[in-house]
Amino acid sequence: MDAYTPSKPSLSRRDLLKWGGAGLAAAAAAPVVWSPAHAQSPKRGGTLSLRLWDPPHFDPHLTISYKTHIVYTFSHSRLLKPKAGPGVVPGTFPLEGDLAESWTQPNETTYVFKLRKGVRWHNKPPVNGRELTAEDIVYSVERFRTVKGNANAYMLASLDKVEAPDKYTVKFTLKEPYVWFLDMVANPMAVAIVPKECVEKFGDLKKPKSVVGTGPWMLDSYRPNVGYTLVRNPNYFVPGLPYIDRVEATVDEDNASRMAAFIVGKYDLGWEFPGQINRTDWVQIKDTLKQKRPRLQTAEFTGNVMSHISMRTDQKPFSDPRVRQAMSLAIDRQGILDATAEGVGVFNSPVPAALTEWSLPVAQLGEGAKYYKYDPKEAKRLLGEAGYPNGFPASICFTTYGSTVLVDSAQLILKYLKDVGIDSKLDQKEYGAYISSCFYGKFDSLTYGPQTPFLEPDNFLFGQYYPGETKNQSHINDPVVADMLIRQRRTVDVAKRREVIHDIQRYLAKQQYYVQIASGVYVAVWDGALKNYGPNLGYDYGGRLMAAWLDR
């Protein structure tokens, strides 16, 4: 099906305006337009071009920057990785072995991985293609969790020790049961397996020369602000893969030039994270693209970037649930989508709608569902009942993140709150100041902003609702929630765990500790020549392209 597949909003504005339409949120999360690859045999060769970002440096254990981690999805392996390809529904992340051939869990806190044999490092100095062993995994995991300056180390906070009982076996012992352990190990932000020779030789892995992995491509050249090139690893441990010979990553920070470059065919994937096009840009250029690049393929799925209003729930007036519920009722979520996202998007439960396996659609949140409606009258009534018939003053801590969408939505939020008597002022901070204060919960009244787009629900829930967690912006200390959060971390049976997570969402919908706004629906776009490719959330570009091939 090489025909151009025009983007259609997955749910209309009218649908969402109707309250009952919220149930469509789940439908929206599934791809609307899907384009399976031809049943052709894959072809080797070719160069794939895409717009990526300039890494601040190349040490994945010393930065939270996706700009660095993306490079590693091409050049390095992890123990596990999320499956990729046209068969995977965006927003789901089924796991498969990467360096691990198999794994077992003898008890609640032990995981044992059997490694593939004969995996070789890139044939580059100082490692020169030696065989990877379990000691390499132990070294990488230890470095990941102990090196000073790794902001992602919390991902393996549950780990007690890691050992290599033999050359091809790695054993992890956890301090306490943590069922998301495998998802963390598979996450591209977590442990990339790196060789100790490079750290020993270069001191760290910041230099391009130290990018030596076991992944499908090898870093060939890099020029700051220009981009980098990766070439096929001829000794990759999966025979025949990857199919694509060369990956050209261009650093392109100007939206106009990115758009022009995409129209004329310079990039094979959409230029925005993760391989998509901003909906506002898409609306402008889709007709042109239809003529200029008629073979383009598209898919739509909900984004996992979720903004919310946080509040000091440990202090008055936000300690009163009626005030928080009123805040939620005062916000016209669809109005924000209309103003900032061409009206297309999905309302978020406490777990973003994008995570289709875990998020409960707003309509199914039970009693709490009603607080997602836009109902200023009811909001005023609740405020009156809570003792604030004339509202109260507040301030919203905010940073723009350089996004006009965020600025526009913040202004609308001010208006909506003012309409019910909550007279808020925008306390705009410079990005660095915002992150070091409001993002970590240091503010007096309210904040508004996006959260890290995680790929599993635990980081959204535990990280933001468990007492004392650094991203618990709303200062929540609710024993009921805390108990459920621990319970979901210990429930091995996935169906049962899903039930607990659904219960958490129902409970949180009533509490409204955060006012979740909405997420946009991504327009993923890729060249028709790119086969066996399936878009997904997150920045595992290398993983998604590993078995893809070019028909040109």
Binding site: D54, P56, H57, L62, T63, I64, S65, G149, N150, A151, N152, A153, K206, R223, P224, N225, V226, G227, T250, V251, D252, E253, D254, A256, S257, M259, A260, A261, I263, V264, G265, K266, I285, T288, Q291, K292, K429, E430, Y431, G432, A433, I435, S436, F439, T470
Partner: protein, 315 residues
């Protein structure tokens, strides 16, 4: 005589550079937010803000930081980027040639556009050609170069599926492609500067054309070309050359945006990133270098006066 003048001017340049270094050092620190706050999120220093500040040497009194920096600069050490850990000198060596070529070509375009049109406009003052040229200059002055650049890139892509060269080609890979990729951005940068130069050329030339010696030249029956180009233009160009020095600073600031749009990895783009990340050593290094270039260019402009007008003597 010229040598003594040159020596004196170089001495005068020192206080200029010292003052500039103070401004260059202080201004980035007046920006809200600082590198430490930005790095905290990025590098998990969490509660150890003071530790990170100490590690970066930002906890010392500002005058000590300044003197340490100046001392290092004098010894040829511009410091190290807080983020990439590469030395500023290394980064600049890679990027300076790109910005110099872009800026140099922009000046070249500005001159070859502005001077002929300015002359034509003055010689044919208050005719249709003059009105058109002056209107064009007003437009050139009013329209920002990044807007022209955006249109030049996006519109042909939408209309014809073609766009000017985007991306960077190394000289070693293709010398021709390397030079060609600078032409359009340099032309766009040059157009903005050309407007001002053209207006000044016209005004100055009109003034000179009214001088007695020019009337004498006409009376002698000299051809128009000789009167205008040889007898008048040379004298009219002195203030124009001064303006060129000022335009140079403008062109350097213009590269910040133009380099981003045309994906040229020059100093402008590097500065843009450094400001966003509050990378003080990089901001300081680039600004100091640009100030030095401008001081030297102004010196060159002063020396040019003598060539243009023999009445000016350096004594």
């Amino acid at each position: 005589m010229l040598r003594r003048y040159l020596f004196k001017r170089l001495l005068v340049a020192i206080p200029s550079l010292v003052i500039a270094s103070l401004i260059v050092f202080t201004l980035p620190r007046l920006l809200p937010g600082d590198a430490v706050q930005l790095m905290m999120e990025e590098k998990a220093y969490g509660k150890d803000v003071d530790d990170l500040r100490h590690k970066l040497g930002l906890d010392r009194p500002i005058y000590i930081q300044y003197f340490t920096w100046v001392g290092d600069v004098v010894r040829g050490n511009l410091g190290e980027s807080l983020w990439t850990k590469r030395t500023v000198a290394e980064e600049l060596a890679m990027r300076l040639p790109i910005t110099l070529l872009l800026g140099g070509l922009a000046i070249f375009f500005a001159i070859i556009i502005a001077i002929p049109i300015g002359v034509l406009s003055a010689v044919r003052a208050d005719t249709m050609r003059d009105y058109v040229a002056r209107s064009a200059a007003i437009i050139g002055l009013s329209v920002p170069s990044f807007w022209i650049a955006t249109l030049v890139i996006v519109l042909p892509a939408i209309w014809w599926g073609w766009t000017p060269h985007l991306g960077f080609t190394e000289f070693s890979k293709s010398p021709t492609a390397h030079v060609l990729q600078f032409l359009l951005p340099a032309f766009i940068l040059g157009v903005a500067s050309a407007a001002g130069i053209m207006r000044l050329t016209r005004a100055m030339l009109l003034e000179v054309l009214r001088q007695d010696y020019v009337r004498t030249a006409w009376a002698k029956g000299l051809r128009e070309g000789v009167v205008v180009l040889k007898h008048s233009l040379k004298n009219a160009l002195i203030p124009v050359v001064t303006i060129l020095g000022i335009q140079l600073a403008q062109i350097f600031s213009g590269t910040v945006i133009i380099e981003s749009i045309f994906q040229l990895p020059g100093m402008g783009r590097f500065l843009f990133d450094a400001i966003n990340q509050r990378d003080y050593p990089v901001i300081q290094g680039i600004n100091l270098l640009v100030v030095s270039i401008i001081v030297l260019m102004n010196l060159a402009v002063d020396l040019l006066y003598a060539v243009l007008d023999p009445r000016i003597r350096y004594s």
